[in-house]
Symmetry: C2
Subunit: 305 residues, 2 copies
């Protein structure tokens, strides 16, 4: 990771934090009765103060390929981050992954209570669509509708939530998932939202069909690489690096590509996914403009080191 | 309730059921990887096979005031119903109201498991916005965005989810809610979505600002009446009529207008809210066209009998 990339990532993360802070202010907007303090505090706990903000970064930097200013892409990027944060809150619940720690802090149901965590997740999820449909996000209502629709498809039954359901089912089943089933489950659970982050940038940039196809492929590939890197971290990492409990997958006898292929082959697969992702970007023929996304792809894979 | 109204209500409910059945089919659409069977089954358990479909009815009949055909309003009506169903699934969870029975059947976490119930709620919520933003719902993307935005505001932090949070907080608090606090909490928890049902119809009908104001007021008033009727049912009803556990409010020492005012005064208040709601409709000067909504308002209040 180059110093300039790291600076850029941190700079965007700080801008995202500011924007989320503004969206999660205590002041009710027209159409809201009021913002109940405890629920809002739980939403803020979930969404503020942490994370690399990788998904917003991908949206903002993909849009930037087409000269869309970061501030123009920011609201869409924040909506996506809210979906990501909601999914973490619900995944951490006792009935799901039962995690006490997230980004080195207590999870929402630990800091508050389960009911509040469920509602905070629901409210972040709902807020994402409020933001995307708001004229403040983009002048063109057709584009706003596309952002809503793409995100809903990526996050719902046939995407992220469906993937989490398949993952839980597999954990509780006698029969382990096969290789292709793991790929599909991970593409839904983790890949869909990362892919959507890139696609939202392409929508905002009004990319051509051919460009969108390449960018979408890039998103899917780094999504797959991200999941391997995450599983490698879990297998090799410790809680201090992760900010959450390590070794969970093995403890649950969870089928991952790491457990199936071994660490070395999983690392190789991760690298070759990134090479392919970089190839998809280079095919855009946008020269050095894609450098930052190439570094982002390497960063995704480099999470294991 | 007139026979013709009852027939109409049942007819619309059957159409809504059909439309929901189509939306919750096993076939994945473009943009979805696949629809995991267990998660889909839980969503179907939550959304199909029951309910008066009051919210869709209000959307469809309000749109009909402006000559919008039921089939044109149906998708928006189904989106709203999905939000309603998601809220029931999450409210029934052990961490929230801990209910085993809903519409005379096991609640989703009883029929499946808690994790699946959480994800089924999340997926219904997400699907609602997918539906509303889809060009199949309406030709005009600006109108679709308004439907998304209004629903998100009604359902989220400053609406339904916020109201549920205030309600739970009050139950767990030493200090009971005051009269105005109960009104506000109920307006958020129950009223916002019923009001949104009417407002969505007004949006679809492209009602004037003045008409929308009256319809919105009508929605808020019947929302308030609905909550009183519901609390009266709980206080007086039995599980067989309700299809869920009765006497819960008293068992939890929950502050409702019924516990605060007594049954007689609560009934009077409910009636006068309905009178006011009918007045708001009559002010539209649409003659007999508003008859069905007037009957709907009386039906809302009549749930107690």
């Amino acid at each position: 990771m180059s110093i300039s990339f790291e600076l850029k990532l941190n700079e965007v993360a700080a801008q995202v934090e500011d924007a989320l802070e503004g969206l999660l202010s205590p002041t009710a907007r027209p159409g809201e009765t009021r913002r109940p303090a405890r629920l809002l505090a739980a939403m803020r706990h979930a969404a503020l103060g942490g994370g690399k903000r990788l998904r917003p970064f991908l949206t903002i930097e993909t849009a930037a390929l087409f000269d869309v200013a970061p501030e123009t892409a920011m609201r869409a990027a924040c909506a996506l981050e809210m979906i990501h944060c909601y999914s973490l809150v619900h995944d951490d619940l006792p009935a799901m992954d039962d995690d006490d720690l997230r980004r080195g802090r207590p999870t929402v149901h630990k800091a508050y209570d389960e009911a509040t965590a469920i509602l905070a997740g629901d409210s972040l999820l709902t807020y994402a669509f409020d933001i995307l449909s708001d004229p403040a996000t983009h002048d063109d209502p057709a584009l706003r509708c596309q952002l809503v629709r793409h995100l809903a498809l990526a996050a719902g039954l046939g995407g992220m939530a469906g993937g989490q359901s398949l993952d839980l089912e597999a954990e509780r089943s006698e029969k382990p998932l096969g290789f292709d089933e793991i790929l599909e489950m991970q593409a839904m659970k983790t890949g869909a939202l990362l892919q959507n982050a890139v696609e939202a940038g392409a929508l905002l940039g009004q990319a051509s069909v051919a460009q969108t196809r390449r960018l979408s492929r890039f998103g899917a590939l780094i999504g797959a690489a991200f999941q391997i890197a995450d599983d490698l971290l879990d297998a090799k990492g410790d809680a201090a690096t992760l900010g959450k409990r390590a070794g969970k997958d093995a403890a649950r006898n969870k089928a991952t590509l790491v457990s199936m292929l071994g660490v070395d082959a999983a690392e190789q697969r991760c690298d070759s996914l990134i090479d392919e992702a970089v190839g998809a970007l280079q095919g855009l023929e946008l020269g050095s403009r894609t450098d930052v996304l190439i570094e982002a792809a390497r960063f995704v894979a480099g999470r294991r080191s």
